[in-house]
Symmetry: C2
Subunit: 788 residues, 2 copies
């Protein structure tokens, strides 16, 4: 079942305006730093200036004596929390080196916190930082995967033979034999630079120990309040019930790095409890550059084997992944490992990961999460193969796509939970054709030819991807009918701009058969719903969504059961209209939702519930999907290169997108466009530099380019909808697809623009100097090969 | 089914030591005034010095200008909360005059708050009270039911014809005809004085508006946090979700008055939100005397008709009930109305209530709640009838008791929810005989005869009762398996010393089949469980108890379902031992509860739950009993009167008690003994005086007698156990039975002691002056009738 239109029920599928926007657009949003916590102290962290060093001594006495300073703690002062932070995704072969909140002996990257100062204000705390004397014994560092994997590399973590965190191979078919036998084989090495999340709101933690409830309340700009609570409970060796984690509803962006747990998040609540006073720390932008996790750095050695007709026979990809100084989890490289084949039917696959430790800030997911790199490896080689055969790259793709009747499609690899990698649904050919049609592919090729004839460097790039999303383990939704006849829907998930207050109210409205204005959605507070996972991996619509649908249907049943008893009729004969439940055939017989709430709560006399009345109109459903759903997309782009400056002008960009059934098309479009901007950054702008000692060279936006609204080009969106059979909403994920193929598509287009010169683009981002380097100035005198 | 031994499972029925006691006995308990709320302001209330007055003007300017005063508000300043507080139990015929938090126009009793001062400390606030100038136009007041019901009585509330709040009659059979035809008829008028709850911790409220969650957090020494939340939501016109009410676990006694809602509870949170700063008010003892609700005052005109064989043919009781200045609910007089017939099979009943408003603090439930008065009316008349026939009063009772095979027994009256008044189970004859046996009734009669022969005033009294308890509408229990493998059980109910942390852990241990030390019970926080009723009417073991049993059984099922999947076996083959679930036949195969919690929460890889694993190990059950269960008891007492001082010496006191199945015999005994002390107070000590203008004359323990441990006599307890068929625990209520028959039993004994003189005891409490009055000194010269 594929449609090209979103499924529209009453509210599901409607482009409802975002409830969040009024407060956001009027400056009335509450971010972590806006929280009113009377008497709150503020913290600042002493951070390592070295990428690798032994801590010889730390003298905090002068800082501690400074007026306004409440306390200074090093790792040695806080042995209670000197535990490793468990990585999120692990593997039996992982050499796990988790970080501790404040290391006492060694620092492994520049920016690693070694002490915390708490003072009456951030100003005082920052001044006191300068008084903390740390003596370091500086050690040699490695600041690239290449350096880390070199034979005589310094060891990031002692006690090991090398810097490898994990080395795993997955195969499907017989890739070695197939490659040997392939009529055509091409190889290339691609490097993808680091890139960050760069949320507008940086990380931040505030905490208050509430002696009245003996509860530690932690406000955290996290994507996963329950994960933070679980991790704190583990680190503090406390029952999780003693910790309440709240993600403010207006967290200003997440993008992955806020789905991780950082040392600061363990230190701040601990000292707040020690001091029995609220303590807050908000990361500044410089800290964000050095201490917030990044992603992307990978080096791919990829080889493709294919026949004369353009059928891919084998793919082999060996890639290095930069894990950073510690292991926050293997989610990113494991995703890269399995994302390689993408939309293509490839009988023989070799995909091999070598993850290594380096002396840089640890890496973890950033929107796209390991997929953009895999798509670069695959889609760049598809273009190379087409070029090799003199075939249109679109035609090459058509010959290799998994077909619409092949789902569920087993790729032949293994998913990272150990199950067979299986695509649930999709329609890649339709997606390609719809994208090309909107892109006006043939017309673009004509324009390209005309431009070339004028000596202009115009190129066209295509890139396709699949995205495993809607992951488990589960997500929950809890409904309650309130005294005023409104329904409160509580999600464990914490949004960072996705519009949960709107879209889950839409789902709830359809589930309840009620008007949306009677429904309120609240999120991100572990005290409101006990279990949850969080917002990452484009997972919530496909997990919290079905939970919200099912819990709402249960709640409707309960509501009508009470109304049935109150109206002395059968539930089947009732209709909810506005804030009343009425007998469908006789609307003069009705009862208000407010009265239903009262009847089921305090009862009529406050003594017994009337016969048939249920106590406690609350429902909770946790939905655990069997496995990941697969969204997909195909991007098409035309670029023109300025040969003198190396500037890339995006002439036309079309995104074809399939995230299954859509809850709110406007919000999905917003996600895709936001993701696209992120992809543009990875493709052309973002690149944090580290020198060979591991010293970061770009720690402000003066040294680090992000695309702004001026740089992000216009884009056209087209959608198809292949519902996932894995959940009753048929939903997949929409949060990352916009990002994933952009570097590959733009690189393909740039290389296509430079094809007349045979210039190769193998390093991302594609910055003007790289293009200028790739072009020999001799070729620019009007006698270049495309004139020939 | 009746047993004389408690049912013993593993933990249910065991006398487990109270978990609460260590902190209570070591002074480590946290009461409301101990809560740490940094920067908290304190409030004090301006209270009316008049029992009835029109407020002419209030000038708060001088108080407001005082340094340290944050604000002063009158009723006129807070029109938003100028709503009537809804009475708890109502009736269609009730002329409802609910109170408003701060009245703006009239005051109706001495102590009624008219303004609130908030200052940096209670000292400042109290000083500022003196600067609030209130001009009153004093009006005539009524301070007794007699005065209120007099023909030309001043009206407590204008706009009515009289001071009657409700006048209702219930009958069974044909009482008028039966009474006319009865061979013997006796009449008497009994008066019962007011009496209070006198909890060691007075009332108190603290509130903090939490701008971070937009939630108003209210700490309240209440028996019913959910009722407080519901009432605040109604008064503030807010969704209940915006208000979190927490009853600290160590509320120092409730006894009924803290199950009500008071104006102060509406004012404090409101001004805390206005000021955006915590505000606290703790009632002082003088305020407790004038502003906390009391109970008891009733005047009973009772007539009994019986035949020569001692069979009761008819009872007719018309009683006046003092509602106080406003109607907090009709629970007390409605209970009196239906409690009259007690343990006796009476074919013809006339029970008639005239509740009236007076200019005294409103009344509501105090431990016993309307039953002690009904038992006085009934049991005193039983003794009079026996005396009239020259029959042993025990023998008279035996002839009239409802028999063990007559349950469920329909009394012929109506319960206050409109259903037929039905006793679920009991064994009154066994209860009587067991009590008499322990009391050694015949021996006591011999001793009495011997004492009389010596000229000593010794008397024996018996009194029996039934107590409707275990009332709905419902109560809830929520379980959660925590990360550390322990189970958290959350109750809506808030204890005030009943030992919930212990007894519900016992129930949970049996329900889960787990060790009690792995179970923690938390109570009294509306944020932890959304619906609940509270602790009153001896209801929780029979409502929260079954909810805890059933939710625990569900949780055990879920736990074992997860363990089954983890151990690849069937749940039926598993045993929980300590903190592990093991295969019964092969204990080497086991999994820890901690691992089960982890598997069901974050999963093995943090990606998908393993097959068969349930997400979210939480269960919630609300148990709604069909109707009230009936506990019962029989008390026997021997007293000796000092004729010179009028002092009563309790020679022997035996309590026979049946509250169905017992969860923790030691705790039940504690409840019964505590209740007994309360009954002793009502029988012999407690009496608040008001002058004819409604001015209270006893506002400290210098003027008001409470029995201390020196005054409460030793008592012996015997139990029988007739399980209630209305809930799976077979539980009834145990919190009030100790109190109910004590005034009647002691009055019967005292009158028996004075019987040789024909002296009559018709007024409670029986204080020494009343006894001295009742005895003519001429009778004390050794020539009295018992020598004759």
């Amino acid at each position: 079942m594929t449609t090209t239109e979103p499924r529209t029920q009453k509210m599901i599928g409607a482009s409802v305006l975002r409830r969040e926007d009024r407060r956001l657009l009027t400056g009335a949003a509450t971010y972590l730093d806006d929280l009113e916590l009377p008497g709150c102290y503020e913290a600042a962290f002493v951070r390592s200036p070295h990428a690798a060093a032994r801590i010889v001594s730390i003298d905090t006495s002068a800082a501690a004596a400074m007026p306004g300073v409440l306390g200074v703690w090093t790792g040695a002062d806080l042995p209670e929390i000197a535990k490793g932070i468990p990585p999120k995704v692990v593997h039996p072969q992982l050499r796990d080196v988790p970080r501790v909140p404040l290391p006492a002996d060694f620092v492994k990257f520049v920016g690693e916190p070694v002490a915390v100062v708490v003072a009456t204000s951030r100003y005082v705390a920052e001044d006191a930082l300068d008084l903390v004397e740390v003596e370091y014994d500086v050690l040699p560092a490695v600041s690239s995967t290449g350096a880390a994997l070199a034979a005589s590399a310094p060891l990031v973590h002692e006690g090991a033979e090398n810097n490898i965190a994990i080395h795993v191979v997955q195969t499907a078919g017989d890739p070695a034999a197939a490659m040997d036998a392939a009529p055509h084989r091409l190889r290339e090495r691609f490097t993808v630079a680091r890139g960050g999340g760069h949320s507008m709101e940086t990380r931040g933690v505030a905490a208050r120990f509430d002696p009245t409830t003996e509860q530690l309340v932690v406000w955290d700009t996290t994507q996963s309040p329950h994960y933070v609570r679980n991790t704190l409970a583990y680190l503090y060796d406390m029952p999780e019930d003693g910790i309440r984690v709240v993600a403010p509803p207006d967290v200003g962006g997440g993008f992955g790095p806020k789905a991780q747990f950082y040392g600061e998040e363990a230190v701040i609540p601990w000292v707040a409890r020690l001091l029995r006073n609220p303590v807050k720390w908000v990361e500044d932008r410089r800290e964000n550059f050095v201490a917030t996790m990044m992603e992307r750095t990978q080096v791919h050695d990829v080889e493709i084997g294919f026949d004369d007709d353009g059928h891919i026979l084998a793919i082999r990809n060996v890639f290095e992944h930069d894990q950073g100084a510690y292991c926050a989890g293997l989610q990113v490289p494991m995703i890269t490992l399995s994302t390689l084949p993408g939309q293509y039917r490839i009988p023989n696959i070799h995909t091999e990961l070598i993850a290594c430790y380096t002396n840089m800030v640890p890496t973890s997911s950033v929107r796209g999460a390991g997929r953009p790199q895999a798509v670069v490896a695959m889609e760049r080689m598809v273009d190379r193969a087409a070029e090799h055969l003199g075939m249109d790259p679109v035609e090459f793709r058509r010959r290799n796509l998994v077909q619409a009747d092949e789902f569920p499609y087993r790729v032949g690899l293994t998913f990272r939970d150990g199950s067979p990698l299986t695509y649930d649904s999709g329609n890649f050919p339709l997606l390609l054709e719809k994208t090309l049609s909107a892109f006006r592919y043939e017309e673009q090729r004509s324009l390209q030819a005309a431009a070339r004839a004028e000596g202009r460097l115009v190129g066209i790039g295509i890139a396709a991807y699949v995205e495993g999303c809607g992951l488990g383990p589960y997500e929950g939704s809890r409904y309650r009918l309130l005294n005023d006849g409104t329904v409160l829907v509580t999600l464990a998930a914490a949004p960072q701009g996705q519009g949960y207050e709107t879209v889950y109210a839409q789902i709830a409205a359809d589930a309840l058969g009620m008007d949306m204005d009677l429904i309120r959605v609240t999120t991100g507070d572990t005290s409101r719903i006990p279990f949850g996972q969080g917002t990452f991996a484009s997972r919530n619509t496909a997990t919290a969504g079905p939970a919200t649908l099912q819990a709402g249907q249960e709640m409707r049943g309960k509501l009508l059961q009470v109304a049935e008893a109150m109206l002395k009729t059968s539930a089947a004969s009732l209709t909810i209209r506005g804030n009343r439940v009425e007998v469908t055939d006789d609307p003069t017989r009705s009862v208000s939702l407010r009265d239903i709430a009262g009847a089921a709560n305090v009862g009529k006399h406050g003594i017994t519930l009337a016969p048939g009345i249920l106590p406690g109109l609350e429902t909770t459903v946790y939905f655990a999907p069997e496995r990941a759903a697969y969204a997909s997309g195909t991007h098409a782009v035309a670029v023109e290169i300025d040969p003198e400056t190396g500037a890339i002008d995006v002439l036309r960009y079309v995104i074809g997108h399939d995230c299954g059934n859509v809850m709110n098309p406007m919000l999905v479009d917003g996600q895709v466009l936001g993701g696209f901007a992120h992809g543009v950054g990875n493709a052309m702008y973002e690149e944090p530099f580290y020198d060979e000692t591991g010293q970061p060279q770009s720690t402000s936006y003066l040294d680090y380019s992000l695309p702004s609204s001026m740089e992000v080009p216009p884009v056209e969106l087209v959608h198809i909808h292949t519902p996932s059979p894995l959940n009753p909403l048929g939903a997949k994920g929409a949060g990352e697809g916009g990002t994933i193929p952009v570097p590959a598509a733009i690189a393909n287009a740039v290389e296509d623009a430079l094809r007349p010169f045979g210039a190769r683009i193998t390093s991302l981002p594609i910055t003007p100097p790289k293009i200028v380097d790739a072009l020999s100035t001799d070729d620019l005198d009007g006698t270049g090969p495309w004139h020939g």
